[in-house]
């Protein structure tokens, strides 16, 4: 497969946490295995959904790939080079191609900067020679691309709605023409109707620009909608990885099945029926 752009091999991220159970004056530390040997491939133009419950290591995995947290072991091969072994200068060059979208739309924007300054920041970092006017033009074009009025360029984050803030976040991620965007729960803080808008925007941009997405979410229905392939994480381990259709409709692992059955279905009749079955099962299990 020569069109694989990112290949993560046996990624491990351990944290030292205080072991409260051990006691003593000097607290002992124990290893928290946030990500414990995860491997996957990502092709150009593909969306890989990463799902799992809270605290299963989804975000840590993403942050380890772009070195926001230090990986304990493993490799992340990006275009033939291991990201985890690059020098800071080389990594800086790669950061132009890998951008990130964050969970909390408002918190991911500096409240003291205007929307234009926020979107222009990656340009300032990676294209140091660029003229101010040119930068401004690019920002305006990008605002239009994410469906916003370029006239708002001087507004501050608190003057936007959550959905608009997330669009600004997307614009910031797209401004350097990246090849991969890591979306860390980009819609879980938004209303359902706004979620749909943002997800559709992401899909449309992906179709236009041919970028790859690593789409992290705990909401299976959103992931199903946007991803070609889905990876299920559980306590830092890959439980299942496969095409979206296969994982959703024919889950192989019991954890995946549980996860799927926990998704509420927007149809009262089916939902009531399902709850009844669940209740019966629970009663049967209790004896």
């Amino acid at each position: 497969m020569n069109d694989t752009i990112l290949s993560v091999r046996n990624m491990k991220v351990y944290f030292d946490v205080r072991d409260d159970a051990a006691g003593g004056i000097f607290p002992k530390t124990k290893k928290l295995k946030a990500v414990d040997g995860v491997s996957f491939d990502l092709k150009a133009g593909e969306t890989l959904g990463i799902v799992g419950e809270s605290g299963c290591g989804k975000s840590t995995l993403a942050r380890a790939i772009i070195r926001l947290v230090t990986a304990t072991a493993g490799e992340a091969i990006w275009m033939g080079r291991d990201l985890l072994k690059l020098s800071n200068a080389d990594m800086l060059a790669v950061r132009k191609d890998i951008q990130m979208i964050f969970q909390d739309p408002l918190a991911s924007l500096n409240p003291r900067m205007t929307c234009g300054e926020i979107i222009a920041e990656p340009l300032k970092t990676h294209f140091k020679g660029m003229k101010k006017a040119e930068r401004r033009e690019k920002v305006c074009a990008m605002l239009e691309k994410v469906g916003m009025d370029p006239a708002v360029i001087n507004r501050y984050p608190h003057e936007f709605s959550g959905g608009q803030c997330q669009r600004i976040g997307i614009a910031r991620a797209l401004i350097t023409n990246p090849k991969l965007i890591i979306c860390d729960e980009p819609v879980s803080a938004l209303d359902v109707s706004v979620q749909a808008q943002v997800v559709n925007l992401l899909m449309q941009l992906q179709a236009d620009l041919g970028i790859s997405l690593l789409f992290i979410a705990h909401d299976l229905s959103v992931v199903k909608h946007i991803s070609q392939r889905i990876m299920v994480l559980y306590f830092g381990n890959v439980v299942e990885i496969g095409s979206a259709d296969q994982v959703i409709n024919h889950p192989a692992h019991t954890y995946t099945k549980k996860l799927i059955s926990s998704v509420p279905i927007p149809d009262p009749a089916i939902e009531i029926e399902r709850r009844k079955i669940r209740r019966q099962k629970r009663a049967a299990a209790l004896g």
Binding site: R95, S108, R112, H126
Partner: protein
């Protein structure tokens, strides 16, 4: 594309300014403080006597001839030596305000830089830097300042050195704490993910978000500095004659109150109290304006 009119954004600073000016006590404080500053700089042009001139007619009978009067040009009366209190109070105002502003200025500069570096770099650097602050804080500073003034002689510079040494400690702690919370915000993470260098992150993302808190503490620090200086001057160790300050004037006034020259105490005291109240009101107003839940 750029031809359409752009909407001007309302920055957080703009919002804060509006909230501040809606606060009556704060605006009152600001007005009172402005008036005092103006008087201290413009007032001397109306003075009949300079602050070091001695009115030989009055000397020795300050209680009767040294009363505040427009006739002989002593608007605030004279002190026991027959020096014009009006000139001396204005002069003391300038010195005391200078001490307050410079002390707060040092604390803003040093404290902000020290605190952000310690907070942002974190780890061992943070530990060492903050333990140094702890150690310095545990030294009784009044004692050190008094020693400095005794050993190196009383001078305005020594006073600034002493006050500067103590003023930045609290500030650096506050700033460090704020930096710690800011550093884990997603917008800082976004900047790191896109490869912005650490100094730029501190300058562009951390410091602007700290300035609100720094401004509040700086305005509350000014009166604290003035109080410190006044205390030292009250002890007789502050600024040297013919320079004076509020503390020195109040000390002199309090010493002579038995001889029916209460104006010698009341005029400097009035300036002192009004200024301190103004600063506290402004500080409170700033806090209300800048703090409301960091949106």
């Amino acid at each position: 594309m750029n031809t359409q009119t752009e909407i001007k954004g309302r920055s957080l600073w703009f919002d804060a300014r509006r909230r501040f000016f809606q606060n009556k006590a704060a605006v009152g404080g600001l007005v009172a403080l402005t008036i005092i500053v103006l008087i201290s700089f413009i007032g001397p042009y109306f003075a009949v006597w300079s602050n070091e001139e001695i009115d030989w007619d009055v000397m020795g009978s300050a209680a009767t001839l040294g009363m505040p009067s427009f006739a002989n040009g002593h608007f605030f009366g004279t002190d026991d030596l027959g020096r014009d209190l009006y000139s001396r109070v204005l002069q003391g105002t300038r010195v005391s305000l200078l001490v307050g502003v410079i002390g707060a200025g040092i604390s803003v500069l040093v404290g902000t830089v020290y605190g952000t570096v310690a907070g942002y770099v974190g780890g061992r650097t943070d530990q060492i830097m903050m333990r140094i602050v702890d150690i310095l804080m545990s030294i009784p500073f009044m004692f050190v300042i008094i020693l400095l003034l005794v050993v190196f002689g009383r001078s305005l510079t020594m006073l600034f050195v002493g006050i500067g040494m103590l003023s930045w400690l609290d500030m650096s702690r506050i700033v460090r704490g704020q930096t710690l919370t800011l550093k884990n915000k997603e917008f800082v993470e976004a900047a790191r993910a896109t490869g912005v260098s650490t100094p730029t992150i501190i300058r562009r993302h951390i410091v602007p978000n700290l300035l609100g808190i720094v401004a509040i503490y700086a305005t509350l620090l000014v009166p604290a500095m003035i109080l410190t200086e006044s205390f030292i001057s009250f002890l007789g160790l502050g600024v040297q004659e013919p320079l004076t300050s509020w503390g020195a004037l109040i000390s002199e006034g309090a010493g002579t109150i038995r001889y029916d020259t209460e104006w010698q105490l009341l005029f400097p005291l009035a300036f002192f109290v009004v200024t301190l109240f103004s600063f506290f009101f402004i500080g409170d107003g700033l806090r209300d304006a800048l703090d409301p839940k960091d949106r």
